[in-house]
Amino acid sequence: MATEHPLVLPGDTIDPSLIPTHKKQPLRLGPGLRHVPPSTILPTVAGQLVTDLRKNSMWVEYNGGRYIPSQGDLVIGQVARSATDLYFVTITPYTANASLPHLSFEGASKKTRPQLLPGALVYARVTLANRHMDPELECVSATTGKAEGLGPLAGGMAFDVSLGLARRLLMARSREEGGVEVLEQLGAEGLAFETAVGRNGRVWVGSDSPKTVVLVGRALTETDEKALGVEQQRKLVKKLIREMR
């Protein structure tokens, strides 16, 4: 695994044999890499260097501490307060709040809009994020006008996880590429719940039974804290189910 994805530290020189080449597409640099003209590529964070030969791109997989919003991310935020036509939503602690317009929900007009109280959780998409301004969110797709899963999250509970686990949970093939299968395994054991994963390190779990919510939350936080592999996750799930019954 180490030879496949070498560990890089900030400022390391990258072996030219690792840089993918493609006949037609230009090389794309993802997060964690920086291009210093004319021809130097520098890692800026410590992590594993991953390359995708098909798309001719390379990036660094790292488990960072603080979430930095970027456009298009799905995040779970908590409403802090309401202003005239916006909600102020906290995405990351100890930073400026993001703004979410009142009308940015599915089917919202001035007369019919959701009334969110401070403390409510929302699943939103980041529309504007740059280092000069406070981030802006939306709960409806701007092109189609449909929510597509976004909006207020009722009931359940939100758990904090590391950014790396949140990213792996959001991958399309989380078992092969990310090494997390705990949610699928819990579902296979017969528990009924739904989840929403926020890129900012928060996972919301909702279910009819509070025991299920707590169990799923515990499974996720233990997977995160102890860095469990797929097999260990299976054992953990079995242990938790046994404890519950």
Partner: protein, 211 residues
């Protein structure tokens, strides 16, 4: 116009004369029909221009004696030779630096008014509806200005206590100098884009048309 510069020094609050004998000039104020100094500086008395002599026509209707026949008394700070402080007025073209951008306005610091470099930086505000003349509701501040840009703007209002209101809604107004994310000075390529010569990347701005 005869100018007599008396070298007496006045301190703020000092009585200069009566309002019936002098006209108030810069650096003075009137309180209960008396003129008092507002600044610490030298007192200047300017005699008014002599009115033209009476016209020798019996049928001419002359207005009542014009009111400004009194000498004007003013106080100016010592060391500043007869130079009044320049303030931005409505209609002036100013150069300013963008300090902060917010979703509906950009806060700027006014540096140069006309051709004069100002002593103090005055705060200005460019609202999102004053950035462009067309499609005002679809303007995005992040694609028009960034912090650190130098902008040529026009004062449209003296505004409130905090800031002047400025506008860039003309072709020759807008960003005249910008630095890229990589730190290089960029050159303009169109009315809405600046380009970094070293990295080749473009950044959106509301570009001022060069003279």
């Amino acid at each position: 116009m005869a100018t007599s510069a008396s070298q007496t020094l006045a301190i703020p609050g000092q009585l200069l004369g009566s309002a019936s004998k002098y006209q108030p000039g810069p650096g003075t104020h009137i309180h209960e029909s008396n003129l008092y100094s507002s600044l610490l500086g030298a007192v200047h008395v300017v005699q008014p221009a002599k009115a033209p002599g009476p016209v020798k026509r019996l049928t001419k209707i002359t207005p009542a004696a014009p009111p400004a026949e009194l000498p004007t008394i003013s106080v100016s700070r010592s060391g500043v030779s007869e130079k009044r402080e320049v303030l931005p007025e409505v209609g002036n073209t100013v150069l300013c630096r963008v300090v902060r951008i917010m979703p509906r306005q950009a806060v700027v610091a006014i540096l140069i008014c006309g051709d004069t470099v100002l002593d103090a930086e005055w705060q200005g505000l460019i609202r999102v509806q004053d950035v462009r003349a067309t499609e005002k509701d679809r303007v995005k501040i992040y694609e028009s200005f960034r912090p650190g840009d130098i902008v040529r703007a026009e004062v449209i209002s003296l505004g409130d206590q905090a800031s002047y209101y400025l506008s860039t809604a003309r072709n020759e107004l807008g960003v005249i100098m910008a630095t890229s994310e990589a730190g290089n000075t960029m050159y303009p390529v169109s009315w809405k884009e600046y380009r970094d010569p070293e990295t080749g990347l473009g950044e959106p701005r509301k570009v001022a048309k060069p003279y």
